[in-house]
């Protein structure tokens, strides 16, 4: 067990008072502590939105980049410094909307990342429009007649793509969430944790409404059973909390390169020496004298 305060940041928090994002922040701090991580060993990566401010509120390295682009940035970070624990924390709009394509391709690549999706089912920072996860029919501050397009069930997609680790957490249940995060971070390759994160300001329902609908994943659920996992992920009546799926083990992105370089940060690798570059130029070099000698 690490020191609980190790990951406390002194930065002023801009979230609404009582925001459920605080639950995710606490759970993440606890998880990192439980794993015995030190702040400099962790890199938090986010896009834009209220959720994407989380990295500033936790003592660690931070890459707070562009809206939707946390996953490619984090992929680059995890390749360039494989000694880091790289974690993406951003919202549903950021990761499923603006950056949805990158998540799909991360499922193919299997980078060594934990992706924490703060799912409040709407855009909060832009004041209450629909997000890719807003339920059908829900009225918002842009979809005045109710949302008319289907929500994206990304966890089912992740399971279908055989992601190594797929889980759902609830921001209102910090001990469970922190335990899920411990497992997600410990898992090599891509882990996706979608966290139900009720928005107190713009959300259609209070946190209690969500709490009533959550239930722990059944004790007899086999996380290697893909079809059962998809059923749990897609259930519209119950929000199942826990580890939904564990995929078939497969190589982590860039592992072939990392095996060759001893898993060192790329910055520590010595540059090629000029002789090696000159050797590489040989195929492009033409020596005229050789020809003359050959001629009869």
């Amino acid at each position: 067990m690490g020191e609980p305060d190790l990951f406390k940041s002194g930065v002023e928090n801009q979230w609404c008072p009582g925001c459920s994002n605080f639950g995710i922040l606490t759970a993440l701090q606890q998880a990192l502590g439980k794993l015995g991580k030190r702040p400099h060993e962790v890199c938090l990566v986010s896009g834009i939105g209220q959720a994407a401010k989380l990295p500033h509120y936790l003592a660690a390295n931070v890459f707070n980049g562009l809206h939707g682009r946390a996953i490619p940035a984090a992929t680059g970070i995890s390749v360039a410094n494989p000694t880091l624990t790289t974690i993406v924390t951003s919202g549903d709009g950021d990761l499923y909307g603006e950056g949805g394509n990158h998540l799909l391709h991360a499922l193919r690549r299997n980078p060594n990342l934990t992706v924490v999706v703060h799912n409040n089912e709407l855009y909060a920072l832009t004041k209450g429009q629909a997000s890719p996860t807003t339920p059908l029919g829900e009225k918002t501050r842009l979809q005045f007649q109710g949302v008319e397009i289907e929500p994206l069930r990304m966890l089912a997609v992740a399971i279908l793509q055989d992601a190594p680790f797929v889980a759902r957490g609830f921001a209102g249940e910090i001990p469970t969430l922190s335990e899920i995060l411990v497992q997600a971070i410990a898992q090599p390759g891509l882990s996706i944790v979608e966290v139900v994160q009720p928005c107190l300001t713009w959300g259609a329902h209070p946190a209690a409404w969500y709490r009533e609908r959550t239930a722990p994943v059944p004790a007899n659920h086999d996380p290697h059973d893909r079809e059962a996992a998809i059923r749990l992920a897609n259930d519209r009546e119950r929000i199942w909390i826990g580890v939904l799926y564990r995929g078939t083990p497969r190589p982590v992105f860039a592992s072939r390169y990392h095996d060759r370089t001893g898993r060192r940060p790329l910055a520590e690798l010595p540059p090629l020496n000029p002789a090696e570059i000159a050797r590489r130029l040989e195929p492009f070099r033409v020596k005229r004298t050789d020809v003359k000698e050959e001629k009869p």
Binding site: H40, L66, R69, P72, A73, V79, N81, D290
Partner: protein, 561 residues
């Protein structure tokens, strides 16, 4: 004196193989070679050509007409015949006629290849005949064949060697008459490199210590990542991204985590990267972007050349931040500029854009040397463990803060696309931090400006007319200057390969300036006019998708004479 050999055919027919074989053999033989490739955006069929210019010493400038035209099919013969000079020779595949039409000859490449048991050998046969036509010995061609096919298998190599010899014999048997053109004297350096701009950009990146490249395939930039992926011992991790947005964001992540990182694209892909270019400016994270220009707007002419993205590259990105813009003139310069781009991007923590174009990317240049020993990586990372707390954006006199990467030591590194304080955390301190951070970033641009090399001058002493160009047009401009000078005209040139920040220059007084560039709106002329107050009295512009030639420049000068 020079000789232009054009090999024309359909895509997939072997134009490139014949061209590369012949180019290498010619260099081996003692000619300096410049090979320009033009092709359509398709995989099979259509029309394409390899225009190989042989000169006594390296000119490295394109010529578009032909002294010798080898047409691999009848359509190519019809389509490219107008390029043939009046005293030129058209060589086609067919039966050697008893009385060929004046200025033409046919040799049975395909039939002979079939007799050899492999239709594909027709290309090597044609290269052999072409070499024989110029009186080249078999030794040069053998070596070219070995270099190109030796890596495949002993069998493939031997088949091609035999075909090359057979091609030479075919030509000797046919006794082609009516030779009016003359080959230039062979005075090329005894040792030279024959390589394309893309080859040089890839090797330059490796020499610069680049460790990470992510890119989305786009002509004419794709060969850069291809070369790095093919040669894993160059040490660069390569990844084909799902789109250009991912490509540049991955590279920025890798760079923030300490790796020298790059991406490469063309206009449309660069357009997708623009938001992240601005991010690089904001988070002060170095990155090198090769922008291989092709004609736009939109998809434009995907396989053709243009210098149409200069002002786009200069102004791309929302907000104000410094950047480095380099435009190499040839592969030697490209090799050196890549190292320079990485070093300066690192030192000033800015994005560096290396402007290439299809002419530079795809053409074969003859270069007597490459600055392998001189161009070395100069890492600019700080050392961890300084007086705490570490602040990624600590204010400093020249705006450059000590840069650590994620996990380099125990110091925490915070980078943020929002306006931030010295520690990297969000700020809305409008009175204090915002203006200081704006000024910090812009100060780096001023410091960077002091690093920029002045433009190259050529025959500028006493010149009455000064041609002003940038990037890949250097060879054509110098050739045009030489041609005017031999006629006693006082023409010189000023050539820029470091475009932004613009260097301090002292411009010759009293000369008339003519801007030479491959776009329709005179982008570079406008830039120099606004920055230097330079008034141009003429312009040579080309925007049909083909490169600027000395001939074209001369026509332009004559039109204004």
């Amino acid at each position: 004196m020079d000789l232009s050999v054009v090999i024309a055919g359909a895509a997939g027919e072997g134009v490139q193989t014949v061209g590369e074989l012949f180019s290498r053999a010619a260099l081996q033989e003692g000619y300096a070679v410049f090979g320009f490739q033009e092709y359509e955006s398709r995989i099979r069929g259509g029309r394409s050509s390899f225009r190989i210019r042989l000169t006594s010493s390296p000119l490295n400038a394109p010529r578009l007409d032909a002294d010798l035209l080898l047409a691999l099919n009848p359509d190519a013969a019809r389509a490219y015949r107008p390029l043939l000079r009046p005293d030129g020779l058209l060589l086609t595949d067919g039966e050697a006629g008893a009385t060929p039409a004046p200025g033409t000859a046919s040799l049975p490449f395909r039939r002979t290849a079939e007799a050899l048991g492999d239709r594909r050998m027709a290309n090597t046969l044609a290269a052999g005949s072409l070499a024989a036509l110029l009186g080249m010995g078999p030794g040069s061609l053998d070596r070219a064949v070995t270099t190109l096919f030796g890596g495949k298998s002993r069998e493939v190599e031997e088949k091609n060697l035999a075909a090359a010899r057979r091609g030479i014999a075919l030509f000797a048997e046919a006794r082609v008459a009516g030779r009016k053109w003359a080959a230039p004297p062979k005075e090329a350096p005894s040792e030279a490199y024959l390589l394309t701009g893309n080859d040089a950009l890839a090797l330059g990146a490796s020499a610069a210590g680049c460790r990470f490249m992510s890119a989305y395939p786009m002509s004419p930039s794709t060969e850069i990542i291809t070369a790095l992926a093919r040669n894993e011992d160059l040490g660069v991790f390569t990844e084909q991204a799902e789109d250009e947005i991912a490509a540049i964001n991955m590279a920025l992540g890798a760079s923030a985590a300490g790796a020298r990182a790059m991406t490469a694209t063309s206009g449309g892909g660069f357009a997708l990267m623009v938001e992240a270019l601005s991010l690089a400016g904001m988070i002060e994270t170095p990155i090198v972007i090769v922008l291989a220009q092709r004609p736009g707007p939109a998809t434009g002419l995907p396989t053709r050349t243009e210098q149409g993205d200069l002002l786009f590259a200069l102004h791309a990105g929302h907000g104000e931040f410094p950047r480095l813009l380099l435009a190499p003139s040839d592969p030697r310069d490209a090799f050196e500029k890549m190292v320079r781009a990485f070093n300066l991007a690192d030192r000033y923590q800015v994005p560096a854009i290396v402007l290439s174009d299809q002419l530079l990317a795809d053409s074969l240049f003859t270069l007597s040397d490459l600055p392998v020993d001189r161009a070395r990586p100069e890492p600019a990372l700080a050392r961890p463990g300084g007086a705490p707390p570490y602040q990624r954006y600590r204010l400093s006199p020249d705006g450059v803060s000590p840069r650590l990467y994620f996990g380099q030591g125990e110091d925490l590194v915070v980078v943020d696309s929002d306006e931030h304080d010295e520690a990297g955390h969000l700020t809305e301190d409008l009175a204090g931090m915002r203006p200081r951070m704006v000024e910090k970033r812009l100060k780096k641009g001023l410091a960077l400006r002091a690093e920029i090399a002045p433009p190259e001058t050529y025959q500028i002493e006493g010149a009455e007319t000064i041609l002003v160009g940038w990037g890949s047009t250097r060879g054509a401009i110098r050739e045009a200057v030489d041609r005017r000078r031999t006629r006693g005209e006082r023409v010189g040139a000023l050539h820029f390969t470091e475009l932004w920040p613009l260097p301090d220059v002292s411009l010759p007084k009293g000369a008339r300036f003519v801007a030479v560039e491959g776009n329709a709106t005179g982008q570079f002329a406008r830039l120099l006019s606004s920055e230097y107050g330079l008034a141009f009295s003429g312009a040579v512009r080309r925007y049909d998708g083909l490169p600027i030639t000395a001939q074209e420049i001369e026509r332009g000068l004559d039109g204004r004479a």
